[in-house]
Amino acid sequence: MNVTKLHPVSLPSMPTDLASLEAWFDQRLDEQLAAREAAKIPSLAIIATKGTMDMAYPPFILASTAAALGWDASIFFTFYGLELLKKDLTIKVSPLGNPAMPMKMPFGPEWLKRINMPIPNMLACNLPGFEHFATSMMEQTVKAKGVPSIRELRDICVESGVRLVACQMTVDLFNFRKDEFIPDIAEWIGATSYLAEAKKADVCLFI
């Protein structure tokens, strides 16, 4: 093997025998890869498919935090997830069909706040206004614990440059009008476009 043919211009630090050359090359490659890794901006791509309060927190918390860390973050809202982009944000939470949801008092003495009062599905689905009640309890708990509201987190996401993208098909499917949604949506796209974006992401989550 003629080394001089491979490298007609030899660097001062470059060895000439093959074994040393390979070691030199490996070292250079490691350095280059490390430099590239250090310069890379991490990215997060979340697919938000649910429109209830419990499922609204993870995408907005993770995306806003990623943005605070300097990451490129995007959320693709599809199916019921699209509710989270409505101007009129009326998201609810219910223990119905959600058996792990703790039912605890948001106020009162500490001992009372620790007691879990699971509501049987039979009751939760038959009591008029129960969902409203459960949602209001959750909102009070969130507020008392200093956790931001969904609206607040969404505003932070918008301010901090999280890319909010929405599913075109869902709008057509549920006969939504685009003016029902916040104007901060970067794009209305389909599966093909989002997969291209998700493919490049370091972290991709389906929520």
Partner: protein, 75 residues
């Protein structure tokens, strides 16, 4: 040590202490320091992780009663 700015994040829970810290840091010059006071126990680990990932320096991190105090130097 006198910090250039103080952020009172007491009573706030995840992820607000970090988000507010990021916001406060953006108004500082490189080399200036920010003091953050929080009550969220999670912020102990999160603040260290935030600084490690963003290149800012966590000069100190300590617990004072029910408060956590951090001093961050902006990169």
């Amino acid at each position: 040590m006198q910090s250039n700015q103080t952020l009172d994040a007491r009573g706030l829970n995840c992820p607000l202490p970090i988000l507010r810290t990021k916001k406060s840091l953006s108004s500082l010059q490189s080399g200036e320091t920010l003091k953050v006071v929080s009550t969220d126990p999670g912020s102990l680990k999160d603040m260290a992780s935030f600084c490690a990932q963003t290149g800012n320096t966590l000069l100190s991190s300590q617990q004072a009663g029910s408060d956590y105090e951090f001093v961050i130097r902006k990169a």
